[in-house]
Symmetry: C2
Subunit: 266 residues, 2 copies
DNA sequence: CAGTGGTCTAGACCACAAT
DNA sequence: TTGTGGTCTAGACCACTGT
């Protein structure tokens, strides 16, 4: 209950967060092309991350902060709001803005949950097993929201870490969307290629389940028949709401688990 | 490529979205306690959801919209921004604001991924197997960010649908946090109880994996030994960043899969 | 009561995209 | 060049929290 890092200034009132923890040297550069609210947000985030703003400490009111920085209150609010959205700050009416009592400072960039896997530094490698177009099956057409029989690009890949298979990935993309070079796929990852082609990924709908391995799956993934597998189907949408990718993935449960962060919508 | 529901007004230019799709009857009630930007956001969302604003259609510029509604531009922007954050609208500089080309209109309230399960209408039932306090183990203490040996509330539950077990749930909460009545737990769900106690859930860190069932697990869940199980560990945080719950759950993979939506952070 | 964030206004200038 | 969203300002009043 009383885990605030408080420094008492006198009196016997209950250990309320010190009303002022902000004598930090924030400053904005008006000649920079970076928006002012964004500069401030970055400085606040950095101060929180490096512990210069302690968890639970108050930020000082917005008007005073605006005055000190030579900014208007709406600009300061925009900066603070962006950090509230990130879960680093909490605002309470009549109280003030405080730094979260965090454990999870960095909510983990769950950009794709897949690049994460790749970025997780397990010396990953990819073997492209198949890369060609075919007419969309009913399942794929439904997932991508296109007509059955339309040409789609099919990619089958084996993901390896430390020389051992970890996952089998099968992805479908609308054929006109992108030129997919197998060599580049093996080194860069599908999502990065799509971003590089000017596609702005926005959201993904996923389903994660489990089942036991068939004999063939076991052979491909170097697991015994009957071993537990994690399965995942995902449809990814760009910022205009168009489906740009559908995939069915199989992971060796002995070597991989999904980790992610959920944000509760207010 | 040309899937806009365009009505040509003459000329042979390429089928660009009609510059104006907004002759709808938006109106705000200034005597209402509901914020103006929120009223507008709701009306826009409703219009999108019911198809009165077609996917891909333009919204008309902010200033004109503001004038038509008797609102200031920042207020209109705030309304639009909230829908952009929800993924219903896309803004493009120099172009305008358009309705997303969506498949996934309702990004699905992934409030807890657990109430979802309960709300999914599978006539769920819960049997509380255990509900008492004990000293925190090292694992639990680490997950909750409290001292090892602190008292924690332990809840073991069996989740049933259609009279058959679907999941085994074990949860740990800081002991002072909440009074948990077993009877209420069986009818209401843990998350709803926490919200009812004034706890504002904010985010959760999850790990999802798979393994095969042991003999005892099989017996408890009515699965054969060696069946595939989905496992989940989760720590939930409130809006001040304090861990308020840690749980380890086991699901019958034959009867359950996780579904959720990821948002790509810009 | 005083102090905080929540909302709202009426302007302004800029950067970018299309024509 | 025109029109769009992106940013910013300097005020204002209200609702809520604490004393």
């Amino acid at each position: 209950m009383s885990d605030f890092p408080v420094s008492f200034t006198g009196g016997y009132s209950r250990p309320v967060p010190k009303p002022e923890s902000a004598s930090l040297d924030f400053a904005v550069d008006r000649s920079s092309p970076v928006p002012l609210y964004y500069q401030l947000a970055q400085q606040l985030e950095s101060a929180i991350e490096h512990g210069r703003l302690a968890p639970g400490s108050l930020l000082g009111n917005e008007i005073e902060l605006a005055g000190r920085l030579g900014l208007s209150r709406p600009t300061v609010r925009q900066a603070i709001q962006s950090l509230v959205d990130k879960g680093l700050l909490v605002r309470r009416r009549g109280i003030g803005t405080q730094v979260v009592h965090s454990q999870v400072k960095r909510p983990l960039e769950l950009s794709s949950l897949y690049d994460d896997l790749q970025a997780a530094g397990q010396s990953p490698a990819t073997r492209v097993l198949r890369n060609e177009t075919e007419p969309a099956s009913a399942e794929v057409a439904a997932a991508l929201g296109i007509a059955e029989g339309s040409e789609v690009q099919v990619i089958e890949r084996l993901r390896l870490t430390h020389g051992e298979p970890m996952a089998y990935l099968c992805n479908y993309l609308p054929a006109e969307l992108l030129d997919l070079d197998s060599a580049r796929l093996e080194e860069t990852g599908l999502y990065r290629l799509m971003r590089g082609a000017g596609i702005t990924l926005h959201s993904a709908r996923q389903a994660v389940g489990a089942r036991t391995a068939t004999a063939e799956e076991g052979e491909q993934l170097m697991e015994p028949e009957g071993a537990a597998l994690l399965t995942m189907q995902r449809t990814t949408y760009d910022d205009t709401g168009r489906a740009v990718e559908y995939g069915t993935h199989i992971y060796r449960a002995s070597r991989y688990a999904f980790e992610f962060q959920l944000l509760v919508r207010p």
